[in-house]
C-alpha cells in the first residue's frame, strides 16, 4: 500500500488581535496621535517588525499533528469549530503554509470548496468552464476532453452560451459543481462544514465523494454530521484545539468524540456588549441545549427528548411578555416557532413578570428531528407593544439519527422532521 498523505509534526500559528487593538480609539486625540505615528508604523510594517504588543497574540490552530494515510482510504475528520479541521485541509491543498512540520502529498489535491471560484458573471457558461478549469489546474486538453461530460452533468445544455449572470442560482451552482466534479484529483477533500446552504448540493458532494472513493482514490471528509461520517468513512481522526487526540475506526472515534464532551459547547452566552441598549429592560444571559442526562451538548440524538433553556434578566417589571424561539434548518426554512406563554393559563400567570432572573425551559419531544444541523433563534416581546430582543441565529446544534425510524436504510430522508409515526399494515384481501 502506498502512502498518499504523510503529515509530520504539522503546526500552524495565527496572529490574532492585531485588528482589535488597531481600532480602539474613541477620542479625536487618539486618532490624531495615531495619524502622527502612521509613518513610523508603515516603516516598521515594511521591514516586518510589528508592535511588540500584538506580537504576543498568537494562537496555534494546529499543533504537532502527525498521521499517514494510505492511498484509496477515506478518512473522516471530526472536531468542534476551531479545532483546526479547516486549517488542516487548507494546508493540504496548499492554500496556506504551515508554520512548522512537513507534509508530503502524493498527487493532486482537489477540493469541492473550490466550486465556482473564478466564475465571472459576464462570461458565458462555456467560457466559465474553461476559465474555472484553468484556475483549478486543468490543462486545456483535459477540459476539451471533459467538456461534453461537464455540460451533461450540469444540465444547463441549451444555456451554455448565455452569460452566467442570467442563470438561476441552481443552474449556476450545478455548472460550477460540474467543473469541480470532473477535476479527477488524486486526493479529494470535502469540507461539508463550509459547503453551506443547499441540501441538494451537499447530497451531490457526498455522491461525488462516494464515486471517488469507489475508484480507489483517497478522500478526506470533514463533517459535523456524525451519521454521515459513520456512513462514509472507515476511519476517523479527532482534532481538539489543534491537536490530534484520537485516530480509530470511525465508530470508535465518533463515540469518543461524542462522549468526551468536547463536541460543540451547545451553549451561547451573551456578553454585556452584545446586547443592544434598545432591548432594556430585557437582557439575555444564555441559551443552552441539554440532553436527557442534563449535560449541555452540541449533538443531540433524534431518538431522545431535548431540553432547551433560555436564561435572561429583567431589570424592570414587564407586562405581556413572551419569551420564545424559532427553529430553522440549515437551509433557513422555519421548522416551528414557540413561546413560553403560548398556553393561556401560563400567560395569565407569567404575562406580567417582576424584575429578576429567569429561565424559560422547554422540552422538544423525541423522534422529531431529521439528521443535520439546526439553528435556534430567540425572541422576547410583548405582543403588539414591543419586541425587546431578537437573535435569529443564537445557537446551532446537530442531530444524530442513529436508531431513528428508517435508519436501517442508509439513505438521506427528505424533510426537516423525522417523526416516528404509527403505521398499521392490514391485509385486506
Amino acid at each position: 500500500m502506498t502512502v498518499a498523505i504523510s503529515v509530520h509534526n504539522l503546526g500552524k500559528r495565527y496572529q490574532i488581535g492585531a485588528a482589535e487593538t488597531k481600532f480602539r480609539y474613541n477620542m479625536l486625540r487618539d486618532v490624531l496621535a495615531d495619524t502622527v505615528y502612521a509613518p513610523v508604523r508603515l516603516a516598521k510594517a515594511l521591514v516586518g517588525k510589528s508592535d511588540r504588543r500584538s506580537n504576543q497574540n498568537f494562537v496555534w490552530a494546529l499543533k504537532d499533528v502527525s498521521f499517514d494515510l494510505d492511498e484509496g482510504k477515506v478518512l473522516g475528520i471530526v472536531g468542534r469549530n476551531g479545532a483546526g479541521k479547516s486549517t488542516l485541509l487548507k494546508i493540504l491543498s496548499r492554500v496556506t503554509e504551515p508554520t512548522t512540520g512537513t507534509v508530503s502529498v502524493r498527487g493532486r489535491v482537489g477540493s469541492l470548496l473550490e466550486v465556482g471560484t473564478g466564475f465571472h458573471p459576464e462570461l458565458t457558461g462555456r467560457e466559465n468552464i474553461y476559465m474555472n478549469g484553468a484556475i483549478l489546474g486543468m490543462k486545456r486538453s483535459q477540459i476539451d476532453r471533459n467538456f461534453d461530460a461537464i455540460v451533461d452533468f450540469s444540465e444547463v445544455g441549451q444555456f451554455i452560451d448565455t452569460p452566467v449572470k442570467r442563470y438561476s442560482s441552481g443552474m449556476y451552482l450545478r455548472l460550477a459543481f460540474a467543473v469541480a466534479a470532473h477535476l479527477e484529483p488524486d486526493i479529494l477533500v470535502v469540507d461539508e462544514v463550509l459547503a453551506v446552504g443547499d441540501a441538494e448540493f451537499q447530497r451531490k458532494c457526498i455522491g461525488k465523494m462516494n464515486d471517488v472513493a469507489q475508484q480507489g482514490r483517497t478522500v478526506l471528509f470533514v463533517s459535523h454530521n456524525m451519521s454521515a461520517i459513520l456512513r462514509l468513512t472507515q476511519e476517523a481522526i479527532v482534532l481538539k484545539k489543534g491537536q490530534l487526540i484520537k485516530r480509530a475506526p470511525t465508530a470508535e472515534a465518533v463515540d469518543f468524540y461524542l462522549s468526551s464532551g468536547q463536541a460543540e459547547s451547545g451553549q451561547r452566552v451573551w456578553e454585556a456588549d452584545e446586547v443592544p441598549a434598545a432591548s432594556a429592560p430585557f437582557k439575555p444571559v444564555a441559551i443552552r441545549i441539554r440532553e436527557r442526562s442534563g449535560k449541555v451538548v452540541d449533538t443531540v440524538r433524534s431518538t431522545e427528548p431535548v431540553m432547551v433553556e433560555f436564561e435572561y434578566q429583567l431589570d424592570a417589571p414587564v407586562t405581556g411578555l413572551r419569551v420564545g424561539m424559532y427553529l430553522n434548518t440549515m437551509r433557513g426554512e422555519y421548522v416551528f416557532t414557540t413561546f413560553d406563554t403560548d398556553d393561556a393559563k401560563q400567560f395569565e400567570q407569567f404575562g406580567a413578570r417582576p424584575a429578576g432572573r429567569y429561565i424559560s425551559r422547554c422540552e422538544i419531544p423525541a423522534d422529531l428531528f431529521n439528521e443535520g444541523r439546526y439553528y435556534l433563534g430567540v425572541n422576547a416581546s410583548s405582543f403588539g407593544v414591543k419586541r425587546y430582543f431578537m437573535d435569529e441565529n443564537a445557537l446551532s446544534f446537530n442531530v444524530d439519527i442513529s436508531g431513528a425510524p428508517g435508519t436501517q436504510w442508509p439513505e438521506l430522508r427528505q424533510g426537516p422532521i423525522r417523526p416516528r409515526l404509527n403505521w398499521k399494515i392490514e391485509k385486506i384481501g
Partner: protein, 281 residues
Amino acid sequence: MTELAKHQPATIYIKPTKGLAALNLRDLWTYRELVFFMVWRDVKVKYKQTLLGMAWAVIQPVMTMLVFTFLFDRVAKLPTEGIPYPVFSFTALLPWGLFVVALNQGSRSLVAHNNMVTKIYFPRLILPLSSVFAGLVDFAIAFVILIGLMFYFQVTPAWNLLWTLPLFLLLALITALGVALWLSAVNVKYRDVNQALPFLTQFWLFATPVAYSASVVSEKWQILYSLNPMAGVVNGFRWALLGTGSAPDITLWVSATISILIFVSGLFYFRSMEKTFADTI
C-alpha cells in the same frame, strides 16, 4: 479508470519556507495556461455592458492627448523638438497608459481575487502578472491610433531606431510589474495602498516626461531625474519612434538599473509574503 491506473502522481512536499523563498518558476510554467485565461478574461470582461465597448480603449488616450495639447501646447507652448505636439505627447501616452493600467490593476489584483487566494492553490504571481499583460491589448489599440496620427501629421518614424522599441516596451513592463509586485503584496495586509494609488499615479505622471519634453529638465538634474524608470521608458519611446532626444546614454542605464532593482526586489518580497496571503487577505 484506465487512465488513472497509468497515471503516476508526483509527490508534493509542503513545508514552511524559510528566509528568501525560492522563486519556483517551474510552478509558474506549469500554470502558464492560467495566465493566458486570466488575460483573456480581463480583456473579454473589461468593456462588457458598456455602450461604447472597445471604443473606450481609443477614447481614453485620445481625450488625454487633446487635453494635453490644449494645456501644454496652446496655452503653455512647451517645446517639442520639432514634432507636432499631439504626436509628441501620444507617443509618451502609449507606454504611460500601459504603465498606469498595469500599476492600478496589478496592485489591486490579489485583493480583487481574494476568493481565489483563500480557496485554491496556484502560483500567486499569476495575478499581478496577468493584470500587467492585460494592459497590452489597450496598448496595441493605441499603437494603431499613433500610426494614424503620425500619418496625419506626416511625421516620419525613425526607421533605423524602431527595432529598439520592443526593448523599451519590455522595460515598461518590468517597471510596472515590479511596482505592482510590491504594492499588491503590501495591499494584502495594508489597504492603504488603495488610498495611495490615485495620488501615486498622479505624482508619477508629473515626474515623467509625458506632457513635456525631458529636455526642459536642466543638465545637472538629469541623473536624479532618471531615477524614475518611467522617464527612461518614455524618452526611449520618443527616441525609437520619433528620433527625438539623444541616443540612450547613462540616464537610460540608471533608469533600467532602477527598474530591474524594483522588479527583482519586488519578486522576492512578493514570494516571501506569499505564504501569509491566504491568512491576512
